[in-house]
Amino acid sequence: MAERVPATVTTACAAMLRRDLLLAWRQRGDLAMPVLYAVIVTVLFPFALGPDLALLQRIAGGVVLVTVLLAMLLALDAMFASDIEDGSLEQLLLAPQPPALLLGMKILAHWLTTALPLIVIAPVLAGMLHLPTAAMPALVLALLFATPLLSLLGAVLVALTAGTRRSGMLLALMLLPLCVPVVIFAAGAVAAAQQGLPWLAPIAWLAAAFILTVVLAPLACAAALRIALDS
């Protein structure tokens, strides 16, 4: 049985990434959704709190961080849901490739399609809440490290819930303890920048955590998936 296209790890990863990006593109309406969601949540705050400029400025960094995080959480839920439903996940596990790698590609695609647009829009949201321009670089940098961290940690948890039918909210619950430190460091950086203090230290912590996670999370993800799917 001669193979024309042999199944190498590279082709498999490429196929995985291409498929997920293609699916995202097919439903490109959905691509804009986390962004719009974040915009609207941000807009709601002035309505709920009253148009007090100093107050809004004070909470701008924190609100944008929390909002971005929630928007990502919403999208995370859908990461494996449709794959489980239509049997694609089973097919994925039957492929002659390390599942951890394939899942890593899924996470990458997910980050590219949800977090990246959010990072791009974040300064605009922060501007709407009057965050000083000086704090913007800190905000963007913090998000650049915090969002992939959440994607990776989230993926491990999503993998754990793979065999179940009610991942959505459960996921939020499980992810919370893991995002608390991320939020603290990210918010710390933004707050420091806003007060004109040096803000690179918390970002460096985030970066270190990110590097550690990028190595460990796909492995943990594969282990979790194996536990969750083998009965």
Partner: protein, 213 residues
Amino acid sequence: MEAMTAVCATPLLQARQLTFHRGDEPVFAPLDFVLHTGELLLIEGDNGSGKTTLLRVLAGLLHVSAGTLHWRGAPWQRDAVAGDLVFLGHQLGQKLDLSPRENLAFATGLHGQRAEPSITDALMRVGLSGYEDEPVRRLSAGQKKRAALARLPLLPATLWLLDEPYANLDRHGIALVDRLLESHLTGGGAALVSSHSTVNFHGGEPQRIRLHG
């Protein structure tokens, strides 16, 4: 064709006293069978007798509870089997928002592709010419099934596990599955098929297992 089936010494798949338990109860009675390349094994049984469960166990999606399962002489192991097996279940594993062509391209990216039919050819063989680039969502039930069947001739797998491949298909579709099976077995493949209707298999009498729930 007949000659081929007899040549191979180590069987492709061999089960001894194989069972699967849900909770504490066995889903089907302990099974023994031997499958060589070039052979077809039909799994028969009434609704709820455990056909789907058996096929999922053989695919490695569920864990053997008791008994042994050997693949080419060695104990069943995911890494040895993974690329060499296609499983087609009640859920077809197709993305509804992608076209049949895109779904197949993904499958071949993951599993590799045989030299012979191109994706377009495979879709033509299953009678989906003209629907290659339609989202699967817009296909009828039988057309969806055909799109899933197109994976079979494309992927370089020896063992096919087909769960009710005839369901939702019209006459031509049924003949198509028979033809696919026949050329696969002639080419040195093997297949386990569960079905309620009869298989028109021209290459000799297939083996049969009957399950009793």
